[in-house]
């Protein structure tokens, strides 16, 4: 069982990147896999991947890298790098949820995090151009991963 989780806030610019990727994937994922959107609040994240062997989580990052930079991290192998700033708009964020789940033995055996570096997180809707383009590339990469042998 695989779940794809898009994390973000619709009304804070590029913070919505994870949600946009989730929507791009909604009707394209292989049968038996599901796509959900989440605001990033840890308990909801834990609930979202509960009972799944594999989770693919997509979130915006704020590390100071070039906007649109994509990173793929195997979170089941170790903590997310703090410099990614995946705590998003709520301060207990994705990185905390991953560690909470790891401590409680509730982290899916395979947990992959895709980070998309945002340009702007100011109030307002819509992605910046480099982030919108990166969201398309991440959606394609996730789909390849889900359909692939790995």
């Amino acid at each position: 069982m695989t779940v794809v989780i898009g994390v973000g806030n619709e009304l804070r610019g590029d913070d919505a990147a994870g949600l946009v990727v989730a929507r791009l994937l909604e009707r394209k994922v292989p049968d038996g896999m599901k796509v959900v959107c989440c605001e990033g609040e840890p308990v909801s994240l834990l609930a979202a991947w509960e009972g799944h062997e594999r989770a693919v989580v997509v979130d915006a990052t704020r590390s100071g890298a070039e906007p649109g930079t994509i990173r793929r991290i195997a979170a089941h192998e170790g903590p997310l790098p703090p410099a990614l700033g995946t705590s998003s708009t709520h301060l207990l964020g994705l990185a905390d949820a991953v560690e909470l789940a790891r401590a409680l033995g509730r982290l899916p055996a395979t947990t992959v995090v895709y980070g998309i570096e945002g340009a702007t997180f100011a109030a307002g809707s819509g992605l910046s151009d480099p982030v919108a383009a990166a969201a398309e590339r991440v959606a394609a990469a996730v789909l390849r991963e889900l359909n692939g042998a790995e």
Binding site: E41, P42, V43, S44, A47, T89, L91, D96, L100, A103
Partner: protein, 431 residues
């Protein structure tokens, strides 16, 4: 040369949103305290102009992922009061039930994941999960039950989609609600254990006597609505007169407006205020839990708010069970609301305290103007006063401990910074 120091936290953890704190000391005395909130303010108020009155509940629910129901209820109530409609009976009971779900989610999150780590000497919920996994497992299960109520009644766990002006799009069946009962009965007991657990924590000394403000819902503990705003110092006004008695002041260091009672000053909303004003209206087991741990009727130590929040958790579980027991499926999911021109006022008790909405509509139901006063902006001045008093009394503490205690003092208020500006960071700084 007088010694000066500044305690500063640029990024305050474990509050909802982002913000900062600065405490500046000179010669052992506090000279300045600032709670800074960064969000672009008032974005939503502008966003609402020109929208239809029916859209306000769903738009304002997006302000906060933790208390969307508070926003939806206040918006619905404002529109309904302007139209002269009262949503009552089982339609209203469902609103209260949905709101109990939000209280369970929000209070559990705050008590266990955000606030308890401060008292238990761990740095975060993650560390708590490593040292005391059973506590965190219990919290997760309790919060999930809140989520379940939101899902069954509200149609979704976050940002319910089933709420509308006039009632609901679809009402649940009795069987759907009854399915929640076993989990809620477990949660009721777990919340009583929570009261016992948090009552034994070690609380820093601080007592602050201030004006406490809550809604009055006429004979019941205020949650989903309240027609009047009352205080322990004689304030008693219809909510339509909110702005006659409350002024919002822009302070340079914060993006959120500070609210004050005109000619009276700062005031406090939230669990301690509700409890002080309405203790006798708590559900029987909530009151018994408060009595069992000897919780005083007037809690003056803001650090003890965690106990009050736990008592309210008992209340929310017991109240949810009562509402389900008495539920009868209503004949129609909503009542008609015909808009008219004028000002509509609505208020509800968000987990953090009174949330007030005011809308001005034209006769076609289009929103001309919106005002939203969230609880955290009302509590900002009180939070700064607490910091001032706490640092003054504990100026000799080592810097790092003082900084941690100051952060804890801010978390006493469960500040929802994303609501208040609509974000928070702590600065104790050495000049």
């Amino acid at each position: 040369m007088s010694e000066t120091k500044t305690i500063r936290t640029d990024y305050l953890a474990r509050v909802e949103g982002e913000g900062g704190m600065l405490v500046r000391m000179r010669g052992g005395k506090v000279s300045e305290v600032k709670l800074r909130i960064y969000e672009p303010p008032r974005f939503f108020e502008a966003f609402l102009r020109g929208r239809q009155f029916t859209e306000a509940p769903d738009i304002t629910a997006r302000i906060c992922g933790i208390c969307p129901v508070a926003y939806q209820m206040a918006a619905c109530l404002a529109m309904e009061s302007l139209a002269g409609v009262e949503v009552d009976g089982q339609l209203r009971a469902l609103r209260r039930l949905l709101y109990c779900g939000e209280w369970i989610e929000s209070h559990t999150l705050h008590v266990y994941m955000l606030h308890a780590p401060d008292f238990l000497g761990v740095s975060s919920a993650v560390e708590l999960a490593q040292t005391s996994p059973e506590i965190v497992e219990k919290a997760l299960r309790m919060k999930k039950i809140g989520n379940e109520i939101m899902r069954v009644v509200g149609g979704r766990e976050v940002h319910p989609i089933n709420v509308r002006v006039g009632g609901w799009y679809k009402t649940p069946t009795k069987a759907q609600l009854e399915a929640l009962v076993p989990d809620l009965e477990w949660a009721l007991e777990a919340s009583e254990e929570t009261v016992r657990l948090v009552a034994t924590l070690d609380f820093p000394e601080l007592e602050i006597d201030r004006e406490l403000v809550a809604l009055d819902a006429g004979g019941e503990y205020p949650i989903d609505r309240g027609a009047r705003l009352i205080s322990n110092r004689g304030l008693d006004i219809p909510i339509s007169e909110f702005y006659d008695h409350v002024e919002e002041i822009h302070v340079e260091h914060s993006n959120a407006l500070h609210a004050r009672l005109r000619e009276r000053g700062s005031y406090l909303v939230g669990p301690c205020a509700r409890y002080a004003l309405h203790r006798e209206l708590l559900s029987p087991r909530a009151l018994a839990a408060a009595d069992e741990v000897g919780l005083e009727p007037l809690v003056l130590n803001p650090f003890r708010s965690i106990v009050v929040r736990a008592v309210e958790l008992v209340h929310a579980c017991e109240e949810a069970l009562r509402l389900i027991r008495e539920y009868e499926e209503p004949p129609a999911p909503s009542v008609d609301v015909v808009p008219r021109a004028g000002f509509g006022h609505g208020a509800s008790e968000a987990p953090r305290g009174v949330l007030y909405h005011r809308y001005r509509l034209d006769d076609a139901g289009s929103i001309l103007d919106a005002k939203i006063v969230p609880p955290t902006s009302q509590n900002q001045a009180s939070i700064e006063e607490d910091l001032f008093a706490f640092v003054t009394a504990h100026a000799s503490l080592p810097d790092e401990e003082l900084r941690l205690r100051c952060e804890q003092a801010i978390r006493n208020y469960d500040p929802c910074i994303s609501c208040a500006t609509h974000f928070l960071t702590l600065d104790v700084e050495d000049e």
